[in-house]
Amino acid sequence: MTRKQWIEIWVGMFVLMGIIALAVVAFKVSNFQGLQERSSYQVHALFDNIGGLKERAPVKLSGVVIGRVNEIKVDPDTYFAKVSMSIYDDFDQLPIDTSASILTSGLLGDQYIGLNVGADDLFLKEGDRIELVQSAIVLEDLIGQFLTKFADSGE
């Protein structure tokens, strides 16, 4: 084989190695999920305090991720925080009285939305609102309550 062909073979191997490295970084190291999002439907919930919940936080059912938070804003009518989340289509049989609570993974971990399944025969669908909610537990409020109770019992 000529020198020119060898150069081409080496360059081919080089580019291939680069692509393999990219694939390792994308799939083994980071959470690359392709450009298209998994097909999903939107529901929302109103919380009076979301604590440290962030967009793209996971929505979990029994600890399994079944969706993502995609928007957090203040509802202009009620002044509550309106959290929109997309739930993957595989999980389209959530009863309409499912409740949502903002939980923390571990003591200091990130916050996520945990769903508790209800018992209704009707299922949540695109655009529905989750009525039963439990807001984030704010540590400062908890300490405040504890101190008030402590002071009361001391009298």
Binding site: V15, M17, V25, V29
Partner: protein, 261 residues
């Protein structure tokens, strides 16, 4: 009495004007180079040759350096994290530092020293042996056939090299953490997978490496073209390429980090 002061002022002024003129020439050089860039696709064999010279021949140093950087990161991270009983996070730490900073930056620094300096020396020598003028005499535009393939090759090679650097670094980190220090293998990968974001960490790192590629290519090619056509001038230009691109990479890295993260 007045003369030394005036001389000193004149010296400062001359230096400043010299630097400004060089910046201006570099800007014009880039401006004239841009329209020639598509020609690197027409003459594919020139581009392939440059990818070989800049990329393939840089592989040994990039892969070895990546492996050792990853091993050191993992070792140092373990020593700190083990105090908090969270040595599994060493994978996350290695991967994040490599993807966000060390991969693009160290790969670019090595590339500037290994390939950028060679590019400047080659073009400087072409200029001093009047090969560039000879091409122009034959109505062949050296921008299209000398500069454009080298510029495009750098743009292609830089992100690939930094990805390989990162992959080797993570492999090195894995070997030290799991193989030697006894971190749990499952936790090592799953924690890394959970905390490294594709868009936020990986893509930003790749964007950085492309930006460094542009910087190195512009400096290396311009210094070669702008070199005084003597052996002394070429050696000075080579030194300037390494110094300026290294400083430029570190400064640009700060700016990009401030914008991205």
């Amino acid at each position: 009495m007045k003369q030394p002061v005036l001389n000193a002022l004149g010296h400062i002024g001359r230096q400043t004007l010299g630097i400004l003129a060089q910046w201006g020439r570099a800007g014009l050089f880039l401006l004239h180079l841009l329209p020639a860039l598509p020609y690197s696709v027409y003459r594919l064999e020139l581009l392939i040759k440059q990818v070989y010279f800049t990329g393939v021949l840089s592989l040994p140093i990039i892969l070895t350096a990546g492996l050792f950087v990853g091993m050191v990161l993992s070792l140092q991270g373990y020593n700190v994290l083990v105090d908090f009983n969270s040595e599994e996070a060493v994978g996350t730490m290695t991967a994040l530092s490599l993807l966000r900073e060390l991969g693009p930056v160290v790969a670019a620094l090595l590339f500037a020293g290994r390939a950028g300096s060679a590019m400047t020396a080659e073009i400087g020598l072409m200029k001093s042996t009047e090969q560039l003028s000879a091409l122009e005499m034959m109505a062949v535009d050296p921008r299209k056939f000398v500069f454009a393939p080298r510029f495009s090759a750098t743009l292609i090679v830089m992100p690939l090299l930094s990805l390989m650097f990162i992959a080797m670094g993570i492999l090195g980190g894995y070997m030290v953490a799991v193989g030697w220090l006894g971190v749990d293998e499952g936790a090592f990968w799953s924690q890394m997978h959970a905390s490294v974001d594709w868009r936020e960490d990986a893509v930003n790192g790749i964007i950085k490496s492309v930006a460094f590629g542009v910087l190195i290519a512009v400096i290396a090619l311009f210094q070669g073209e702008d070199a005084v056509p003597t052996s002394e001038g070429v050696s000075g230009a080579t030194t300037r390429t390494v110094v300026q691109s290294s400083l430029g990479i570190l400064a640009l890295d700060f700016v990009l980090t401030a914008v991205m993260f």
